[in-house]
Homo-oligomer: 356 residues x 2
Amino acid sequence: MKKHNFNAGPSILPRIAIENSAKAILDLNGSGMSLLEISHRSKDFQAIIDEAVALFRELLNIPENYHVLFLGGGASLQFCMVPYNLMKTKAAYLETGVWAKKAIKEGKFFGQVDVVASSADKNFTYIPKNFTIPADADYFHITTNNTIYGSEIRYDIDSPVPLVADMSSDILSRPVDVSKYAMIYGGAQKNLGPAGVTFVILREDVLGKTGRPIPTMLDYTTHIKEGSMFNTPPCFAIYTVLETLRWIKELGGVKKMEEMNKAKAQLLYDAIDNSKMFVGTVEKDSRSLMNICFVMKEQYKDKEDAFMEFAKGKGMVGIKGHRSVGGFRCSTYNALPVESIQAMIDCMHEFEAANA
Amino acid sequence: MKKHNFNAGPSILPRIAIENSAKAILDLNGSGMSLLEISHRSKDFQAIIDEAVALFRELLNIPENYHVLFLGGGASLQFCMVPYNLMKTKAAYLETGVWAKKAIKEGKFFGQVDVVASSADKNFTYIPKNFTIPADADYFHITTNNTIYGSEIRYDIDSPVPLVADMSSDILSRPVDVSKYAMIYGGAQKNLGPAGVTFVILREDVLGKTGRPIPTMLDYTTHIKEGSMFNTPPCFAIYTVLETLRWIKELGGVKKMEEMNKAKAQLLYDAIDNSKMFVGTVEKDSRSLMNICFVMKEQYKDKEDAFMEFAKGKGMVGIKGHRSVGGFRCSTYNALPVESIQAMIDCMHEFEAANA
């Protein structure tokens, strides 16, 4: 039976990226060596990381005065590296979900944190719109896509202070005006590649202002200076990132991704909105194109487990909502084909016909 | 032409671990899903990390009161996490090479560092023997194998204070009395697996004594509490670690590895010691079984480049010595077959016959 992979992350990747990664493990470019067995200082690996950086720059139209880094440790390590490197006195944060809260918690280790707005009052079902970013903050931190709650900031905010964005779960899903951000970072394991590598896009002029000594590995200048190779990088994960970037380019870049993502999301949101049994959990103007969250309407709540089993039986994978939301979540990242959306909608219709 | 992989790291891995990793990328256990596309919270991945931890415990005979963690960020991040978590006032370090120096540098961010002994006076060609570990140090840090210089501490030191060892390049190469250490850590990319994951073996009682607030991701208690899954771990690298551990067990465990490593090293060291042209760089009682460093004797120095080309032509890969030593380095990790040692020795003999 065909599986439809709605995992929230690690999640579906382009099949060609998977197949080429497996090939490179067996034999990298006919070299007689495995990708896993070559030195990160070799010409072969330098070519891989160079192309990955160049394609990332090209696809996101990253201005020349930004650095692109591939690091280990996950976006969670960035929650601490951001304030370590950027916060002198205080920083502003937007609280839109679990990951934003985690970033806020780490900020507090290093100084004053102003939470300029929060949607905690309604279980993070919307993106706050009216807030003031303090002009004396060292930076303003946002989480553009809230994987757990299914809300997304799908526009580039104007900020009077350096804007820092965690784009772990929506990077490369749409064109971004990088020049509006001081820094964009995220774990790779949604749209970009497998777990194990973190990307950082950074304008160097925001560094060196805290007066705080920074341990070498936590200092962005270390990684800028050494081109992400101060120490051995996560080589395999970077290779799969490269293969994923090649696939995005081949298909037409991030504009094409956005077009496809909008079309996929509209199909599923329309099915939810027209359903007797299901209802979306997020306010319409805050809905994510990456993670589509919905539950059974009150009168059908007792059917949720039955639908989960029914959908699993039809090959749907990873559709259980996070425990803090309940119900269902379909993650619809770049690599998810529209056929999987259609299969999910068919499931919903079939179940509804029998149960509503 | 068959390649003989003497890379210092990332380095040769068991072929079966490579092949099974490629298979798991295409389809994990016949699940119809790629290893790269499954959730780290899935039963399938939990089984992978659980087996990797259990096998690591079994193979190294790790006592029950130690935790085994798989983290991102590399051993270089541990250089900072060790003092962050363990140093209240001062720590003692043994300076035996570049990596030890890097660890020392990070220690100084957090307190006083006593370098109890150093072999810097002779370009790190020996392991210092006579030194006193201060009884009031919070811990004593050693680098058991010095990848660049080819020296190794092949015994378990008795320390009056908690002993912390970077075993990046000799873990699983010999039995270790883990109970003599408070902590053992290292990057995987030599004997354990591919680049991108770091192991930590840790006795919890050394934690919580500094009074210092520690950012969440840098705090070992975070990772202990969450079984290495506070955030998304480097899933693929952990899978290849598991396959490598299975291979070690299949072959007979770390005693068997030590036996094989001793036999391989003796062949090559004997060839060097009996050679007219080549000479080892490290004092005999400090020689590493993992990285065998040698140069041309003074009168043949001008032949080094010619030998390098000659050996490359015979399929030898990664034998160039690090720039701080020069000459040649053959890394002879667990997965390097004795046939590769023999091929290297044949190379040396053939070149010597024509040039000495």
